[in-house]
Assembly symmetry: D2
Homo-oligomer: 151 residues x 4
């Protein structure tokens, strides 16, 4: 039973996304914010490529981290924060196409951390989305008092 | 006994790096290319940040993927390629400072895949570099015939 | 489209299971063998415990490795072998109950390796099975020629 | 600066090890208990084998979990507990030989979790120990109040 402890989670996530400079640099847009579940998409361009012309593994890892992390953010109490303790990304296919879709969800909610997963798909023309990567992550919850300060 | 099967590995890696569009978007510079070992650095700027002002986890994962991957590239025969099968990144500290340093190496060389590790440090002012993340990855080798074509 | 390249996979897996000494030491029984999917169960006894009385993490990791690995074995050509390149296990709940159930499947089939997942549940009395751990693994295929010899 | 918050850590770990039924079933012996660092060994016998005659991946994962976990136990305050949040094990070589050696250490100490690593070596006759597996784990600390009860 996944549940949220923040009735304003959607608005609070939108405000946090506004300050995600690196996400903006990539051009990733969040398209769905639900309890324990986040999705978004990115139009593939030349700047996302590695040397063979595929979407860079780092782009895919970034999308996985964002959707898995914000899936956890949607559950924690207001003013609490979420930090990635660890994330593992497995790559199934090269990212070649027009667009990446990313979906993240919490598969085990906990007080101290949430176990999350993310799936990354590539879309090419009219074809069905193809699952190109899957990630599992441990997202730690920090209380307002514990947040490391930016110096 | 880590050894290279490509006498031109340094030149070949430099050429591949030239085509790493996403690496250039981040501003990461490779500073050392050796047999089974790669290092580089990135000056932290606003565009690398997540919403709390720290270096984005995706930036760190990207650097880890690049240095671990090219450490493997330095070993494989000419015209062979390396693809990330999976990478796990553990985050120890928030990335706050002037610069990130990334070091990658092959810890077990193999014919079909190389097991690699990466360490990411943050440097702030005159302080000692602080280890903020560590990654382990399975880097698969593909022969020239196996390379998935870009469509 | 997951498919098998060994029409005798079920019989061949049963023969391999007969020689799994460590699996027998644990008392794990495989109950289902299908294309890309394996399941089994283990009656929890005192010998499976760690110091707090829960099922040992190593028991759970072993079950995950077996069901994920044999899910891959079900797909590869006759006389080919499968070795675990790496496995990550996330633990959601302590293993307390009467029985563990383990399910493994291949989520991405490939020529050189199969990406697999495993789920471990605990059953207690008449209650619904509870998911206590989830694993993701890279299972490498070795041809008959490549098999490392036992010395 | 790794430090312990339990002056009696060595004695407390020895008492916990006494109750590790699964560890005894395997025959693993802890040979060194230090601040943030544990080592032990296991004489390989037929019961540890998988179907090809190598040490079972589950044996290696169990040893990695024990030495990484107790490395964390050595640091936390008296009566606190440590649970494995997740562990990833990469397998470099088949386990063939007379004995397995396992070494675990904490590489980043934290209040809520410790990041740990483990290395597993095989020893055969008079040869140098060979590194056959490496693991990274997130070990979570639970306060005496948080410990899940055994039912």
């Amino acid at each position: 039973m996944i549940q949220t402890y923040n009735p304003d989670f959607e608005q609070d996530i939108r405000e946090k996304l506004e300050r995600q400079e690196f996400m903006k640099l990539l051009g990733f847009k969040v398209t769905k914010i639900a309890v324990g579940s986040i999705a978004g998409e990115l139009t593939l361009e030349q700047r996302h490529r590695q040397h063979k012309g595929f979407a860079h593994g780092g782009v895919i890892a970034t999308l996985a981290d964002i959707v898995a992390g914000f899936a956890a953010v949607s559950l924690v109490p207001k003013h609490y924060h979420v930090v990635t303790a660890e994330i593992k990304v497995s790559y199934f296919h090269p990212g070649v196409g027009d667009k990446l879709l990313a979906k993240g969800c919490v598969i085990k909610q906990g007080r101290k951390f949430n176990f999350c997963e993310a799936e990354i798909y590539v879309v090419k023309g009219e074809q069905e989305p193809l699952l190109i990567a899957k990630a599992s992550a441990t997202m730690a919850t920090t209380t307002p008092e514990e947040i490391p300060r930016k110096v």
